[in-house]
Amino acid sequence: MKILRTIGLLLFIIGFGIFSGIFFSNEYVLSKEGLAQHLTEKQQLLFEEKQLEHGKIYSNSFAFTKFLQSVMEQVNNSLLQDLTPTEQEINSIVQHNQGLTFSLASLDQVYNDSVESEAFKKSNFISYGNWLEGRAFNNEQEMQEALQGVANNIAQYGIVSSKGFDQYKSKYLLYALTKTSAQGPVKDYPYWMLFLTFGLSIIGASLYILPKTSMEPPGIKNNGIYHNAMSNKGWLGILTGSYLILFYVFLYFYKEHMTSWILMVDPISMFLKGQPAGEFFLYGFLYTLCILVMGVRMIIKYRHSRYQVARTISVMFFQTAFAFLIPEILIRLNQPYYDFKNIWPLDYDFFFDNELNTLIANGNLGLFMIGWGLALTIVAVPVGVYFFGKRWYCSWVCGCGGLAETLGDPYRQLSDKSVKAWKFERISIHSVLVFAIVMTAGVLYTYFTGSAEVVGISTYKIREWYGAGIGAAFAGVVGTGFYPLMGNRVWCRFGCPLAAYLGLIQRFKSRFRITTNGGQCISCGNCSTYCEMGIDVRWYAQRGQNIVRSSCVGCGVCSSVCPRGVLNLEVKDEKGRLNQPSLLGNDSFKN
């Protein structure tokens, strides 16, 4: 059994090593076909013009993207040079407005419509300068300055966005061109690579995890957790955390460097949805795999507790079916991508105009999806929490919770239990909830009024801030990257706006509580130590008080690790839920 586990560990390390190595495995050559796939003819010409060494091989994505960026920049610069109204032209326009009153008609004297570039300059001047039509100036200098202002605006907004590569286009092209230009083992032997990475990792992990069933009897086995470099913030934990953090930074901000991994899952994506993979397909695939493999580990570890087994199977199911397979299959059926278990405000882009428009454009199914999403937020959350506590979502259904309860289980003890952390948590999670509501209100305002600004702030900017700051940086980079350093529920505890919403209802209107069993607590501290949400469970248990906390996700581990059978997750009549601290057993005060 021990040998089997050692072999398993080795296989896993090899598989994981190959996976990591693949990140660096590609070479990149820019090809005509690659350019043709993603650029307009004009852009292709410009690109080819600037490409310094044609057909050069770049050995890694960093050099290649640097090269792409410099070409795009050069293209942009030459476009600016060619298409910005020159000082000479401006002077000429001034000359053609002799009466010191500006007229757009004067442009015809300066620009020749039959020359393409001049026609472009003219039309730009009209769109950016038409507000000057008929304006009288005191002298030539004033008019010249005003026209220069128009030219500056054109340079800033009117050229790169339509002819060249603006911020969004270049970000996309960096990724798309890197992916199409990649050459290497992943491209040549995708199935082999799939086997050598995911295959070996899964086999290895299984060999490591499964023998546990026969090695020790069922029951809580937290032996050595604080003697282990992985689970006690040792070098292994820090290394794992750094790896995860880097992964998320690349995923959300520099996906162009992940193309080797994305190429590897292309065949799976083609099979499932008939389209090549994007970075979020790779992410979803990895995510589901982690939940499944580590879910098996979780089930084995807590196999004496049917509560833990049931809820682990549940998160494995919802991740695989609802978050991963169904949305991809919907795409294959030409239907909108939709995760039926994701709930606003965790699903923060549910009300984004593009999302709503896509759903509306998809007939009855789309409308059903909008109704379903609204019903989850408005009905399912309060009703579910009233009857079962927020756990029905957080530790039975949610994908973030699913990862936390499986991949994150080895780190649950690292959450901060101090009162200080609790104070911070209350401020931070409710701030994110407010942020999500404000952001969504702004988005809807724009959707219904068409006005992009509320009190001078662009609603598009707000949602961009939310997406980058909360959606990517907080939920991903911090939320998962910090598992091995701050515990497995960092996002759920400090950031998730849906958890905040569920929590408010759980705190004030719910049948759920963790019951303390009379006077049986011995203050040992297992419950608090293993609470992933950082609740000092013992504080309540040793006073004979039920635990009613908005943050409790009902994972049930406090009850599982309690050596004296003191804690139990219960749904019961609301009466007696918030009981006064009192301990059973001492009758001295009865009279």
Partner: protein, 442 residues
């Protein structure tokens, strides 16, 4: 202002301090030589086994004490002079008190075995014991004494892959407390964990090597067992050696009246170190468990703050965990069935669950229950015992008494069925209905 000094910062002393603070503005000082801050003694094993760090065993954050205006002194009290109301400390000067609470706990029993003070021989009670144990991992250990601490120590050593022999003087593990059925169950469990369980085996002496380290032990029947560690876990006694020359009257423990007052009007004793001159009904004079320490702390706090209160513990309860098997007891279940009592014992075929009910044969009054592997609801059991419920009511109400987590397999139906088969004159019908979960999952 009145100055209350508490010697000992275990659960008894700390509970007293907290409740005095709740009830008054008195100056409170807690003195302990063991550690500065209160920790849960019962959790030491988890620190050794890496379930927790030591700091996790401390139920209150370090700033709690200052915030609640409770002074802590880490020092050893060596002398009491109650005429001057003064305590002499080993390192600091001295402390003057108005009222004194002694909550000094216990020390592991040593019965004068030759070699009992050798290196590598220790008990498991204090923080210092844990530190000593962590210094050097033995390869082969002998544990003397078949009680709760003994089996805990065995479990701890198994984690470090130490070969363990457990010497038990009685015929069966903890058989001075557990009835034979439960005791047999634990015997099997011990053997299943590859512990060499030696029953009816008594320590005679411990032999040392040339460096004064334990080398082997010898039992009364002459068996020699080589080992490099001996755990002495044959019970504990009140920690009162340091009081011998004082005026505080003691027997095995410090003698106290129902107000937990010693022979001195302003000196109280609570927890493990107290011995009741007249124990409450059905209780022993010295009870060394967490819960009684806590309750005496609550009670003495009331008395000291001007609300004289006699110590009246409710129905007895206790709990423990043997490896993966949880144990709870409510009421009185003696190791041997008492005259005039009847019993019903149910054990699941897996050996992972059992329940043992005791009642009076004359009036069928429920007396107590032992439960292994099934959690029971303290509130319900406490009510039954307080009001003198009949065994029939208990059996009928088993569903309401269950405290197992959702989805756990329920055994009430099999238990009641077996009870009815054995006690046809008392046959009952189980109250309540199966929940949906029980219907689906059993």
């Amino acid at each position: 202002m009145k100055h209350i000094v508490i010697v000992g910062n275990g659960v008894a002393g700390i509970t007293a301090a907290r409740h005095i603070r709740k009830r008054s503005a008195y100056k409170i000082t807690v003195i302990s030589a063991e550690t500065k801050y209160f920790f849960s003694r019962t959790a030491l094993m988890y620190v050794y086994m890496g379930h927790m760090k030591f700091e996790h065993t401390q139920p209150y954050e370090n700033n709690f004490w200052e915030k609640n205006n409770i002074d802590l002194i880490q020092d050893l009290v060596i002398k009491i002079d109650n005429n001057k109301k003064t305590l002499t400390l080993q390192n600091n000067d001295s402390v003057v008190y108005d009222d004194l609470i002694l909550a000094t706990g216990s020390v592991p029993n040593k019965f004068g075995w030759p070699g009992q003070d050798l290196q590598g021989v220790q008990g498991l009670y204090s923080y210092q014991d844990l530190q000593k144990l962590e210094e050097k991992t033995p390869t082969k250990a002998v544990i003397v004494g078949g009680g709760l601490i003994g089996i805990e120590l065995a479990e701890m050593l198994l984690y470090k892959k130490v070969e363990v022999t457990l010497l038990v003087r009685e015929k069966s593990f903890w058989s001075n407390v557990l009835p034979s059925q439960e005791s047999a169950l634990i015997n099997q469990l011990i053997q299943k964990h590859h512990i060499d369980l030696k029953l009816e085996s008594e320590l005679k002496c411990i032999h040392a090597d040339s460096e004064g380290w334990v080398q082997s032990i010898e039992t009364v029947d002459g068996t020699n067992i080589p080992c490099d560690f001996v755990g002495l876990t044959a019970g504990v006694s009140p920690n009162i050696g340091w009081l011998k020359d004082s005026d505080v009257e003691s027997n095995r423990g410090i003698l106290v009246d129902p107000y937990l007052r010693s022979n001195m009007a302003n000196i109280y004793a609570i927890g493990d170190c107290a011995e009741h001159r007249t124990p409450p009904p059905n209780r022993r004079p010295i009870e060394q468990v967490w819960y009684t320490g806590r309750m005496m702390g609550e009670t003495v706090a009331a008395t000291i703050t001007g609300n004289p209160t006699t110590y009246q513990p409710g129905p007895w309860f206790n709990s423990a965990k043997f490896f993966d098997l949880e144990y709870q007891t409510y009421g009185v279940v003696s190791n041997v069935l008492q005259a005039g009592q009847k019993e019903f014992y149910w054990e699941h075929e897996s050996g992972n669950f059992c329940m043992h009910f005791i009642w009076n044969s004359a009036d069928n009054k429920f007396v107590g229950v032992n439960s292994f592997g099934i959690r029971l609801r303290h509130e319900v059991l406490d009510q039954w015992l307080q009001k003198g419920a009949r065994i029939m009511e208990v059996m009928e109400g088993l569903r309401a008494a269950n405290f197992d987590p959702e989805f756990f397999k329920r055994h009430e139906e099999s238990i009641v069925m077996a009870f009815n088969a054995e006690n046809q004159n008392l046959a009952v019908k189980l109250n309540g209905k199966k929940s949906l979960i029980e219907k689906i999952f059993g």
